[in-house]
């Protein structure tokens, strides 16, 4: 009897939480497919929603999927019948596949304010943030980190690292491409050497970074901007990124509008908004990546103390699409020996 009362009360409480707010009549709605790290309370999503809604007099709705890759699979599953106006959060390395799906429309947005370290002239996809992969190290466990990828690969095997799996995570794929960019055809040999130093290879960044913070290894594959989180949010200098002489592989996250959008003008307005300071200023301290324009207020001071990659490394998206399978297979052979 008592349990049922509690149950009813709980149900009512929760259903109350579900009740939709009365929507203003005939208000326009923009639907954005993205991943949940973006829309979570810790991500930039909530602030961006508020700012855009104030500017457009419309409602911005997020559909939060489980990952950047999940966003693309969802869209491919839905095909032409998708409900998205804008898709935000595709990784550069899946851009070619996304383009081939034929679901995206040209954005027609002037991208002259872009301040990326590489040239950008794509008529379908617009970048909204970027970063560099890097090995983050624990200064209390490692006094002198390797200063190049070569030094890491050739370091004694008791230098331990934690990696992500390229079959299930974007940083993992990033390192695969990084090693390929530096070593070319000799990549398998480098991987065999890296494998001997690898404590574990995880499914995703979350597990890897968590294990690193637990002290399971002094080095982890992450981003050059990861230390900014510790410096800004935790006032902690302990975790730093190791700068590599060969350069750092880039990650660029992009957005695009769909062909099937029922309000292309609103979608375009969002893409334009995406390149303004109102959107971009949330990126450094909520997404922990670099904004794609020069912010009027500049970057947070902590960003001045991050590793500045002398040379950004990047394969064209088409080449990644064509060779990814072969390179993953090659990696698998090299590290499973």
């Amino acid at each position: 009897m008592r349990i049922s009362t509690v149950l009813t009360a709980a149900t009512l409480t929760v259903l109350g939480g579900f009740a939709p707010l009365p929507a203003a009549a005939a208000e326009k709605t923009l639907t954005v497919y993205t991943y949940d790290a973006f829309t979570s309370d810790w991500g930039p999503g909530p602030a961006i929603k508020q700012a855009f809604e104030a500017a457009c007099g419309c409602t911005l709705e997020y559909v939060a999927l489980d990952s950047s890759i999940g966003v693309l699979s969802r869209l491919r599953l839905e095909g032409e019948g998708n409900k998205a106006d804008v898709v935000l959060g595709l990784d550069l390395n899946v851009m070619a596949e996304a383009r081939d799906s034929g679901l995206f429309a040209a954005h027609g947005v002037a991208a002259d304010t872009l301040a990326l370290p590489v040239d950008w002239s794509d008529d379908t996809f617009l970048p909204f943030d970027y970063g560099y992969f890097a090995f983050v190290y624990d200064t209390q466990a490692l006094a002198s980190p390797p200063s190049s990828l070569k030094e890491l690969v050739e370091a004694p095997d008791d230098l331990k690292i934690i990696l992500e799996d390229p079959r299930s995570s974007t940083p993992g794929l990033g390192l695969l491409l990084w090693v390929r960019a530096v070593y070319g055809e000799d990549a398998p040999e480098a991987w065999a050497q890296l494998a001997r130093k690898t404590v574990t290879t995880t499914k995703g960044w979350t597990e890897a970074y968590g294990l690193f913070l637990e002290g399971e290894a002094p080095l982890v594959l992450s981003y050059t901007t990861s230390p900014a989180y510790h410096m800004i949010a935790e006032n902690e200098e302990r975790y730093q990124a190791a700068g590599f002489a060969e350069g750092h592989y880039m990650q660029v996250e992009v957005a695009a509008m769909t062909k099937s959008s029922d309000d292309p003008e609103l979608a375009r307005q969002f893409l334009r908004f995406m390149l303004t300071p109102a959107f971009q200023s949330t990126i450094p301290t909520a997404q922990w990546m670099y904004p794609v324009i020069d912010l009027p207020e500049g970057l947070p001071p902590a960003y001045d103390r991050l590793v500045d990659p002398a040379k950004p490394l990047l394969f064209p998206a088409e080449e990644v699409a064509a060779k990814r399978k072969a390179w993953v297979e090659e990696w698998l052979q090299a590290v499973s020996r």
């Binding site: 008592r2 999940g70 693309l72 699979s73 299930s168 995880t202 597990e207 294990l211 637990e214 990696w331």
Partner: protein, 531 residues
């Protein structure tokens, strides 16, 4: 009611969900390319490793569970009841939480290594590799098997112990003549379930296995479905997993023997082997080992949760809304799983006792369990393809999560409730027939008093299992829907490990409380055996 109807309805639901999802996905694929996919050397390497690690993990879990169940059956000690409830917890906390609990204890800078360092010994790096996989899977599954075995041991009629003590049987003979036959009635089923869980393990195998050498079929499915968007390959791999696992578990079930519960007066007799110093020492060692294996990682999770960020995290309204939604999902899924499980068992009981077809009964129970080996990504994607043609998938979020969670919990309900329901039938079938008690009257008057505790246990397990599950919702994407595990992942994904630790501890505590409330409230506070 015809004997086949209850399971007919339940199985129709399971088949509709699993079959519908696979079929929808297969039809959506441009081509299955069955031959190409099956001729792949990589695939068979992965299959081999998957079978190997699942077999070893099952063997370890079951081998450890036997002495633990035995020690628990013949000892009463302070904290025994709590230990049993913590045992239920290890199965239900989210994988990622468990991994971090295990690393905090066994990792390179874990408690055990800190202990060695304090003693001036070298740190041991044993966790990552096959050892890690086995520790991880033993942590998840040993307690669950131990509970099922304990249930079987406690069902041995007290008269048996009296006769045994009159004959002056030694501990070894007791095991051979009394305990082993009792264990054999439930062991194959429990082992089959553990095998399926280990077979489909993904994050544990990859993370604690130390690298890509430790790849299960589930990783290949993930890769095919998510990175390569090769629906045909994903469906093929899922079918391989389903068939292979099904065949192995079916073979395992052939080892099962029907239970032979005799009539009992139901009075309590002391077991003849509870005295003796050597037995006591062995049992104490076994229980200490089980505590180290299972309880320490849970303690590590709790300790990590008591950090400076706890007050801030606990003050967030979003957290409590997620708690509310998680509880609604857990209770609804638990009740649904219980109903489905009871329906299947009603039919399998008829098959076993009234129609004399125990083999068919075993296969029926297996069929209900096979949903465990359908990769969640395949299930979710298939359901999405299936449902988006008929309904708004956003509106379906909540009911769908409840349905899928209930189906995932169904095998556990069948395991925990199966034994007791068969015993009830053996005890009371003739009496009920001769007195003409049927239907609701029989359920209320005859079955409920005997089944109350196992029903509560099954519901508690099913509900907590659903509480800790991330569910398929993350793949569907939806607004205003958050469960605790989802919040946990989001916090970790945003660097907020401290906050994630608080949520993990709260989630574990919630699982424990929910378990205690259901088991204590519904099962009755009269604890004959949980002391």
């Amino acid at each position: 009611m015809p004997w086949w109807l209850p399971a007919g309805i339940a199985l129709a639901l399971v088949t509709a969900v699993v079959g519908g999802a696979l079929l929808a996905l297969g039809l959506a694929a441009p081509g299955l390319a069955l031959g190409d996919n099956l001729a792949d050397a990589y695939l068979w390497r992965v299959v081999w490793f998957t079978v190997l690690q699942a077999t070893l993990s099952t063997l370890i879990s079951v081998t450890l569970a036997i002495p633990v169940a035995r020690a628990l059956a013949r000892r009463r000690f302070p904290g025994r009841g709590l230990l049993l409830r913590l045992f239920a917890l290890s199965l239900v906390i989210p994988t990622i939480v468990a991994i971090f609990g295990i690393v905090a204890v066994h990792g390179r800078t874990g408690w055990l290594n800190d202990g060695l360092a304090l003693l001036g010994l070298d740190r041991l790096h044993y966790l990552y590799g096959l050892t890690g996989i086995l520790i991880g899977h033993a942590f998840f599954n040993m307690p669950f098997v131990a509970r099922i075995l304990l249930q079987a041991l406690e069902a041995v009629p007290p008269e048996t112990w009296r006769v045994a003590s009159q004959f002056g049987l030694k501990s070894r003979d007791l095991f051979r003549l009394i305990e082993w036959p009792a264990l054999r009635t439930v062991l194959p089923g429990a082992a089959g379930l553990v095998f399926m869980l280990c077979f489909t393990s993904f994050a544990v195998v990859l993370t604690l296995g130390g690298g890509p050498k430790a790849t299960t079929l589930e990783v290949a499915v993930y890769q095919a479905l998510r990175f390569d968007f090769d629906l045909g390959r994903a469906v093929t791999l899922a079918l391989v997993q389903l068939l292979l696992c099904g065949a192995i578990v079916l073979a395992l079930l052939r080892l099962a023997v029907p239970s032979t519960t005799a009539l009992t007066e139901g009075r309590f007799y002391e077991r003849p082997d509870s005295g003796g110093r050597r037995g006591l020492a062995v049992d104490a060692a076994v229980i200490v080992f089980a505590v180290l294996l299972v309880v320490l990682p849970l303690v590590a999770v709790a300790v990590a949760g008591f950090n400076a960020q706890a007050p801030g995290v606990l003050a967030r309204a979003a957290l409590w809304r997620a708690v509310g939604q998680s509880l609604v999902i857990a209770l609804s899924a638990g009740v649904l799983a219980l109903a489905l499980g009871a329906a299947i068992l009603l039919t399998s009981r008829s098959l076993r006792h009234r129609l004399g077809r125990p083999g068919a009964a075993g296969r029926l129970e297996l069929a209900a369990s096979l949903i465990l080996v359908v990769p969640p990504f395949v299930l979710a994607t298939g359901l999405f393809v299936l449902l988006r043609q008929v309904a708004d998938v956003f509106a379906l979020g909540m009911p769908l999560v409840i349905l899928v969670n209930a189906l995932m919990a169904l095998p556990f309900v069948v395991r925990f409730l199966g034994g007791p329901m068969m015993e009830e039938a053996q005890r009371h079938d003739r009496l009920c027939q001769s007195l003409g008690i049927t239907g609701w009257q029989r359920l209320r008057l005859i079955e409920w008093p005997g089944l109350r505790r196992p029903v509560a246990l099954a519901l508690a397990v099913a509900a907590t299992l659903s509480l800790g599950d991330l569910g398929v919702i993350a793949l569907f994407g939806s607004q205003d829907f958050a469960t605790l595990p989802l919040l946990l992942y989001q916090a970790m994904g945003g660097f907020r490990m401290g906050e994630a630790a608080v949520i993990a501890a709260l989630l574990s505590l919630l699982c424990l409380v929910l378990f205690l409330v259901i088991e204590g409230g519904l099962g009755g506070l009269r604890r004959r055996t949980d002391g």
